[in-house]
Symmetry: C2
Subunit: 341 residues, 2 copies
């Protein structure tokens, strides 16, 4: 089969690799129908040391089951299925508590080879979610967001306990930030301030329910939000992952409020002392999103068209064009690239 491989920062190639095979009786092999490039794929695209051995990429996909192991019970060959970006048994204590990304099963983990024609799926029963066989091709983009970015934005809003009447600030106008806006709107936020400066993206944020856009960053951005909100936002959804975004979140959150992070932190330490969090009773929550937990709730809304999270894809490419898609996302001319097989 063909797959996208990264060899170094800035160096993605599409090459022939060996087909994946069933390794355990709980595995399935899925022929990918839609995959995509994630903002988090850009981290190694910036920093990966050169390697003679390419590394397969990608963690978001949906497709048709090609083959199942002997102990796979809930899905079968020919089913159209959605994966979550993590594999899990969906039955252990942590999965049952809604923290599927901490599944205790030894075969659980994160996908890292989904920009490819075929993907081996461990723990297929807990990881693959059957989709209606007759799903309209036009819906596939929105369905694919349930594999990561929509579930991740929704996780930010859920962990912040966004509720009716809240003022919410969303930091970051990438796909996750925009879908955090959509999620905050679904949960009843009254005012949603999107902090971002890329016009096409913030315009989509306004369509998704943002009431205000603040393009300034850092101290100026903090001052603007504190002025708009007379003292800060009740809930701050941080969808970037860099330290300045954390500091911005601390700056714009209201006393007694919540910062919910879903941008994978590219830092270890940050301010948590009296002045930043403790003195004002700020709660810091969020984390690696257990998107599987939200599919039951969000899938019907995608299928009936009441939400359209697939608008975050502003480019569709073939597998061979994936290197160009990385370049375009890296220079911010594309928000998120869909890969159609």
């Amino acid at each position: 089969m063909r797959a996208a491989l990264m060899y170094a920062a800035g160096d993605v190639r599409v090459e022939a690799v060996a087909d994946p095979t069933l390794e355990r009786p709980t595995d399935a092999i899925v022929r990918v129908v839609r995959a995509c490039v994630c903002g988090s794929d850009l981290h190694p695209y910036h920093s990966m040391p050169a390697s003679p051995v390419g590394r397969q990429m990608g963690h978001e996909f949906l497709g048709v089951i090609e083959q199942t192991g002997s102990r796979v019970a809930t899905v079968e060959t020919g089913d159209l299925v959605l994966a979550s970006f993590s594999s899990q048994d969906n039955s252990c204590e942590f999965c049952c508590a809604g923290v599927q990304t901490s599944c205790s099963h030894p075969e659980s983990g994160l996908f890292s080879a989904a920009q490819a024609e075929l993907v081996r799926v461990p723990l297929a029963d807990g990881t693959l979610y059957p989709l209606p066989a007759d799903a309209d091709a036009a819906l596939l983009a929105s369905l694919l967001t349930l594999a990561d970015v929509y579930g991740t934005g929704y996780h930010a809003a859920k962990m912040a306990n966004v509720s009716a009447g809240d003022t919410v600030a969303v930091i970051g106008d990438g796909a996750v930030g925009l879908l955090a806006v959509l999620s905050a709107r679904q949960l009843g936020a009254e005012r949603i301030i999107l902090m971002g400066r890329h016009r096409a993206r913030t315009d989509l944020g306004l369509k998704y329910g943002a009431t205000d856009v603040v393009p300034e960053r850092g101290e100026k951005g903090v001052a603007a939000v504190r002025e708009l909100t007379r003292g800060g936002a009740h809930k701050v959804l941080e969808a970037v992952g860099h330290r300045p975004a954390y500091d911005q979140a601390v700056g714009v959150v209201r006393a007694g409020g919540v910062i919910s992070r879903v941008g994978v932190p590219q830092y270890d330490e940050a301010s948590v002392g009296f002045a930043s969090l403790f003195g004002r009773n700020i709660t810091l929550t969020g984390g690696l999103a257990p998107v599987r937990a939200y599919v039951d709730e969000l899938l019907p809304l995608v299928l009936d068209g009441s939400v359209d999270p697939g608008q975050v894809f502003d480019s569709t490419v073939a597998l061979d064009e994936v290197p160009a898609a990385y370049r375009a996302m890296n220079d911010r001319s594309v928000l998120k690239a869909l890969i159609a097989f």
Copy 2:
């Protein structure tokens, strides 16, 4: 009047100072009946630079109103009243949201002169809570804990959302840690692991409802709790405030769990990245306790004897003996000293 003043680390004196007077029509003057020394008073006792001008100390007290300003409406001269360690209007947006320590009133603040015969109380209507005039003298110690340590321990448990069936780890066997144990028990925790090594204190913790005591600290303590809980505690209540206690909290918390801090942090930065909080969806909450928020709920339990938080006082001194009380708390021969006037 006489009052306790600190002149330097290790140097506390009781001296005559001017009586406080009404400064605003919303003030009251309270004649102190019971006050005490707080674990947090030991921070300046360790570190205060020498000063020719002594600094009055103390933030926990109850007493009898001596005088009220013209705009005080809910309490009057002669009332036995409890203060919270913070003064607040108890009517602003933040107070109504239960974050009284972030009261937006310009005269709100923290008490810092309660180890004295008289205290000026700003915003008396929002700060003083009337107690039954016939309160048994034997109850005064327990009532005084509502001014800080009981409310603070309760805040830790409430912010962690301790619920029936939870396994809770409490870090610290000081008065706040012990009352966090009591609070976790009240909220239905199934298992409460007290991390502390001072036998008399951990014995009181067992009386208050701890099911296990882990005396080890650091990596050994973390390993012991992870073994006892098969992977960590659902909720961790951190009642120390030093960085090693934070790291210990991160070590013992279960994936998807909560760390709730009420020990005033003596550090600014700490680990919040992928390995510590984010990857496991750990929530970090807590803060400077709005103890006023909990008086309505906890006072009846103290009055009817269903809880006895006053057991944290293992020494009673007169005002003149306060310097000795600081010494005894500093060398850990006394847990918490009550000052009876």
